[in-house]
Amino acid sequence: MERQVQRLRQAFRSGRSRPLRFRQQQLEGLCRMVQEREKDIVEALAADLSKSALNAYSHEIISILGEIDFMLRNLSDLASAKPAKKNLLTMMDEVYVQPEPLGVVLIIGAWNYPFVLTMQPLVGAIAAGNAVIVKPSELSENTAKLLAKLLPQYVDQDLYAVINGGVEETTELLKQRFDHILYTGNTAVGKIVMEAAAKHLTPVTLELGGKSPCYIDKDCDLDVACRRITWGKYMNCGQTCIAPDYVLCEASLQDQIVQKIKETVKDFYGENIKASPDYERIINLRHFKRIHSLLEGQKIAFGGETDEATCYIEEIFGPILPIVPVKNVDEAINFINDREKPLALYVFSRNNKLIKRMIDETSSGGVTGNDVIMHFTVNSLPFGGVGSSGMGAYHGKYSFDTFSHQRPCLLKSLKGESVNKLRYPPNSQSKVSWAKFFLLKQFKKEKLQLLLLMFVGVVTAVVVKVNQSSVVVTKAKWPRKPKLLQEFADFWSKSLKL
């Protein structure tokens, strides 16, 4: 494993992954892979999660295509140097921030959306010019194997590699040194990843989870709210990190909500849900048993719905929607704030003030108002957590930035040394005032006019002085420009008594 990482590091050091043209080619390769092998990808997802072709497409494949498209369109803009505001002392210098690749990046994927959660970060890492190791989740076996098979066929094998394996292999992998690690998964393993990263001072992006609350106000269109919540909750059989984990509402609404969700589920999946091609399955037996045990001894209102306390011990990650009655929005806010910060927060209300209040008084990775999940699809929004739901963010520009180092650069000329005399010892108090003026005043075009005026004034003074010393100037050639500038600078320095 060390050798593999070394191999990638050598490839990165050769500088091959940096030219924009190369990055574009690799991204185009990925795009071809997704388009040409769509069938294989869909089959793998079906094998892992019983995902229907349509769900596989709209939940996973589409996001990748959108992300690749975004990167290809914006690459030169994202990778370009961004000029920064100068002060007077640096007004003749080039001042900018240059995005640069970090080096070798590790992406650890998750099993619930095994394709998109490895590929979307990969797109960002490649676009930023890095070498990448992808470690898909071993729980989604088929997708993991497929990625290992397909990736080398479409992108550079020396710069991008897939490493498969379980806990043991991942632990070994984490002992290696990377320049960034992006991990999607649960909180417990997130801590292990960050601890391993600390040994090498590797920055991390952790996309974790939590219990995403969903508050339903009494002033809202209950039909619409329940429809949207049902969609978000039961997609992928509830195995979505930003699914509405539990509902908070006033007790009077509870029965109506249950009824409406029941009707919506029937609309979506038919009478015999098990037979619906659009309904997924739990990833494996262990998780199945875990979720099943959550139902034991609970008050089930419909199918997998319940409203008892034990469901809150952990993120449910299954098709079980607890409904917690609260007195009012204050109690809901307190309930939410008493818990760890979630990855997502949802609030349904016609009252914009209430929505605003919910946002203002709580914290979460992201928010969708009057809907669920959707903030994930807007790739101009950063996708990430806060507190125990994670740190860092990605998607679109944020992916590019996550996998880049923004390097500040100041390029001066070797000439013009006289101006620097201001800062050299021996020092005086008057120098401080000048230093303040030059360092702290930001360079604006209007100031340029002022400076030009000053310049003209000084030149006039020089000319007058020269005339007064009776040097015949008319026929003699003016000294060459650099010398004149030098004289001007000397005169100026002298006049400042430096």
């Binding site: 001072l201 928010v367 009057n370 650069c409």
Partner: protein, 472 residues
Amino acid sequence: MGPLSVQGWMDSFDSFEDTLRRLREAFKAGQTRPVEFRVAQLQGLGHFLGANKQLLQDALAEDLGKSPFESDISEIILCQNEVDLAIKSLQTWMKDEPVATNLLTKLSSAFIRKEPFGLVIIIAPWNYPLNLMIMPLVGAIAAGNCVLLKPSEISKNTEKVCCHPALQSCFAVVLGGPEETGQLLEHKFDYIFFTGSPRVGKIVMAAAAKHLTPITLELGGKNPCYVDDSCDPQTVANRVAWFRYFNAGQTCVAPDYILCSQEMQERLLPALQSAILRFYGDDPKTSPNLGRIINQKHFKRLQGLLGCGRVAIGGQSEESERYIAPTVLVDVQETDPVMQEEIFGPILPLLTVKNLEEAIDFINRREKPLALYAFSNNRVNQVLDCTSSGGFGGNDGFLYLTLSAMPLGGIGNSGMGRYHGKFSFDTFSHHRACLLRSPGMERLNDLRYPPYSPWSQQLISWAIGSQSCTLL
């Protein structure tokens, strides 16, 4: 928020727990969030800096032998500027940032909300004890957090100044050494900002991992300084000498060592001698413009390094004053102790390389530094393109730090994250993605609900994929 009292570590562990609890309660009650509160805090900080300039200069002189000029331009003025910038820009920075929507979310409002993390701890070092504490503090307060400050116990006099009553209403201060800091970090914080060495940086990050606390680490490294043959030696010498010996070399972004050809070295040495003479006079020990080493431990460490290679300039030291003369070393090997660790003192080794390629190779074999410098008339960009570092200075030193539009931060072993100006505000804020949809227009959503038909796939892909729509 009432004044939070200073907690001395020797008092009791419990009283510190109280401070932490009170800070969290204050944050939970929303005290630090209104813009008026933040501005008032920042103004308080600004007044303090303005009203106590003499006090601050004296403390810095005591700790590091800093001249008033150095204290002003590298600490006090920069901090005042940062405070002013934050006060002026706060409303703008705090605004929700609208973002582009895709077709599926066109009728929604999408924006990024900047939120405070909560309880922030800032651990400051001793070399620029005011700057490296106040600069992050400004960002943390501006972002609406509650702040716990842990100044360095090594810069004792500046540490005392932090306990000034005028500062106490802004934030809490805790004092202590490495052991106490370790205990402190066992508690949960919502953000940790640490400036110091890579070795301790790893310890801080490991502690942060236990609570999944996001961090910014401003560390260090050996900042290479490449000098091309095409340069005027005196100009280079002036600039390098100034940045090297500023604060007696105790600057994380100072040029640590020079890489140049043998020929250039011979021209640089007299130029460096001339610059040092001009800056500090015949006897630098008597110059009011040269600082002192912070304490005995570092003094002894630096004194040891004087034995590496051969002393070409300077080399004198005086223990009672913790004085080390501005020194240049030559004939230094890569394996010498002076090349194994960040020097952090007024010693400048010159290493010879055959050409630019060898220099770049040398630099890339080592850990990524916090800063990288290249002096050349025409090949600065080559060095820039072939290396990596926190920041880069072409034909000058760390002047870019004075620009609040430029971030200060490391990469790899020299750190992670960045700050200064708006970057500070962003560092101490959680960028929360918000999408507010209308409860109406439900028909449009039918597209996404099961049961699915083949054509809905096409429609969905078109809708999510496009960023703009000329029809709407």
